[in-house]
Symmetry: C2
Subunit: 442 residues, 2 copies
């Protein structure tokens, strides 16, 4: 079942069917469906949920949808759902709401919840601390497994996660983790210490995206979060990590396409909103592309003498752009997988230059043959040599740019295809006409 | 700590430090580090692990690294690690090994393990059934919570996951799931039925990537897998799902860059291997780009009369390529997020055409002004009109192509930037010279 089906049912006013279908799926799925509906249909569908389901589903919706619902339903109706949110999800929702509504909602919270929310709100928007849950259950290294399990059962109701349990010392410093599985299946009389493992953890001020990616990639149910003195202050749970990663992927995809991310689903976004998300980058690229007009102007005389040279311009800039894009996406991905680091820049440059020359030699040989037959050997030689040079330069630039971006603290995805090709176009043309002048003697 | 550090320590022969550092991190991290090392260093580091750690770490390594290690260590040394693998991970490793080694290893398995592996091997390589664990623990709907928990404790040792527990009827048909949390913290005397929730599940023959993405995006510890009669036959666990998603992302990134995926980490791949992964697609693109040479040949006479027209070729193809790329990445992403479907093709085309005209009008006005001042009003008009048309066509084509790809069963990521720009180059040039002939009367 999808948002499309629910949308159709709402439009046909088959509300009993909407209620039945939404209650038949997991709350995460119901939330994803509501995320995909517009505010009017979403509000109708949300009102059809049972009170218990509503709280669960609200919890799993995106903060953007939560904020739209609060606006549409009126604050009073959502107080329940708001109180039942985990502090980290609540902090994120508060960011989306107008300040007045946020204040009003915070006032509805019991003191303990208000405090937990304040802890989370104390960290920067992109920090792990902002996405962690301050409500967790921990065990001590010298507890027995039986005592540890009893502690989890006693306090687990208030914790957001109980499958990965942090082990701390008397000063609450993180020593490791045990899994609930080990506590449940282990010998109750031995110390927790015997099944403690080194933790995969994060500092509260570290990047939420980096921590979330590790959590998701390693498939961990939760990851402990510590303060600057290595004291345990929260847990990043898998579902929150998955949300952080999805949002970051969305942004990366936007960057790679040289545009801004849309705030609402595509079909619901207005032409104006879509244009706004793209036009700035397109202008930036177009202004850079004016470089190519200037480069060509310098060679206008050469072009007048050999108009045939103009015919190959798009072919050559195309080969340069594609070679650069292949190199850039390879290295961007290798950076993301931690396979290369900015300091490997020379090794990468050397490797890409070799790859570029190899590919250029293969393509250039074909280019030489085709252009020689169709025009003359001189033009064939120019085309062949240009292809080799353009491939070498484009591959090297495409491979190095993501590393430079990373080093200067810019998202490497920014130097993706559109930027690489715009840059390679101008360089490629310069090379082309310099080779043409030298070979053809014009 | 990273693979770089371990590599340095191995090279300096500080083996005690290698052993200490590897045992201080979680097995998932140690496995990721070994994945990043070459075979020689990886084998040295692996031999330094304690016997218990070795089994855990081996389990978490990529099948490719496992296969390389088996080759380097000799089969006898790895039998232990192999026997301790989960059937699904074992099936994947067997795919990577030479058939003779695979057969030899299967012979080392106890009969029950051999059978479980055979079940998994019975499904297609891209099916969920191939990645599921056939070793799981389930409860019955009419069990009490206490009885259910007792069952989990009794049988949990053999199960790969116990945090999401499938609930089945007497015929083993899947009714829903309960979380271990609910069993542990709930009232032991009430039936499991009271905390049963609708399952997020998959059919064994369905796409492993789709199921894995749902599992990871919803942050589920595990997802039940059923046969064609809805009978429970396995569980897809989160860590396996995360591996499937990482491999699929790797492939998507490769597609988006018009290349094949590398089998080894970037810095360890040879120039030849990198070239091979790219050269085929580059040839395909170059051959398509020869279209542009043909298009321009038709207009050679026009070009000879107005050489200034040649100066704008790279600018115009650049704008077309970038506009098309923005539209393609937006729609590809919207498809992945289930925000649009192939049948929305007309709505998407209309929206993208409007966006293209709007952006084209803004950019075209600037282009008209600049070209009019630098050359003449006639050329200004040609440039302005071409920009509007090229933007409209490129946005529409870029938006529609991913939907067409999806409809005909091709990966939408294939129609990413390199392909869109190559296509738009030829179309854009046609439009350009047709407008030029009409406006300038040549």
């Amino acid at each position: 079942m999808t948002a499309h089906r629910i949308r159709a049912l709402v439009d046909e006013e088959r509300l009993a069917d909407v209620a039945r279908e939404l209650s038949a799926v997991a709350p995460q799925e119901a939330a994803a469906i509501l995320d995909g509906l517009d505010t009017r249909r979403g509000t109708i569908a949300f009102r059809l949920l049972s009170k218990d389901d509503a709280v669960d589903v609200f919890d799993d919706m995106s903060p953007n949808t939560q904020a739209r619902l609060i606006d549409a339903l009126g604050t009073a109706e959502v107080v329940d759902a708001f109180d039942n949110l985990d502090p980290d999800d609540r902090a994120e929702l508060l960011d989306e709401l107008p300040a007045a509504v946020a204040k009003q909602l915070i006032r509805t919270l019991p003191p303990a919840e208000r405090e937990a929310t304040a802890v989370v709100l104390g960290f920067g928007r992109n920090a792990v601390g902002r996405r962690m849950s301050p409500e967790f259950v921990h065990v001590y290294a010298d507890d027995t497994i039986g005592a540890g399990l009893a502690r989890v059962i006693e306090r687990g109701h208030d914790a957001e996660t109980i499958y990965t349990i942090p082990v701390v010392d008397a000063e609450r410093r993180l020593l490791g983790v045990v899994s609930l599985r080990d506590l449940l299946l282990g010998d109750p009389s031995v110390p927790v210490e015997t099944c403690r493992r080194p933790p995969v953890y994060a500092h509260a001020t570290a990047s939420a995206e980096t921590a979330a990616r590790r959590c998701v990639e390693l498939g961990l149910p939760a990851m402990p979060v510590v303060d600057s003195e290595d004291r345990l202050i929260g847990m990043l749970t898998l579902d929150d990590a998955a949300e952080v990663v999805a949002a970051a992927d969305d942004e990366d995809a936007a960057r790679a396409g040289a545009r801004e991310k849309l705030k609402t689903p595509y079909l619901r976004s207005s032409v104006f909103a879509i244009t706004r998300a793209r036009v700035v980058w397109l202008f930036v690229l177009a202004v850079s592309a004016i470089l190519t007009v200037n480069v060509l102007e310098v060679f206008e005389g050469t072009l007048e003498q050999k108009v045939a040279l103009a015919l190959f311009i798009p072919l050559l800039t195309g080969i340069g752009g594609n070679t650069g894009s292949q190199a850039a996406t390879t290295v961007t991905r290798a950076l993301a997988m931690d396979e290369v680091r900015p300091r490997d820049v020379l090794r990468v440059a050397l490797k890409e230059a070799s790859v570029g020359v190899t590919m250029g030699a293969a393509l250039g040989a074909v280019g030489f043959a085709v252009a020689s037959v169709a025009y003359e050997t001189g033009i064939g030689a120019v085309i062949g040599l240009t292809i080799v040079s353009v491939c070498a330069v484009a591959a090297t630039v495409g491979g190095v740019m993501p590393l430079v971006a990373k080093r200067i603290g810019v998202d490497p995805a920014v130097f993706s295809t559109p930027f690489i090709s715009t840059f390679c176009d101008a360089t490629g043309l310069l090379i082309y006409f310099m080779i043409a002048k030298a070979v053809l003697g014009i």
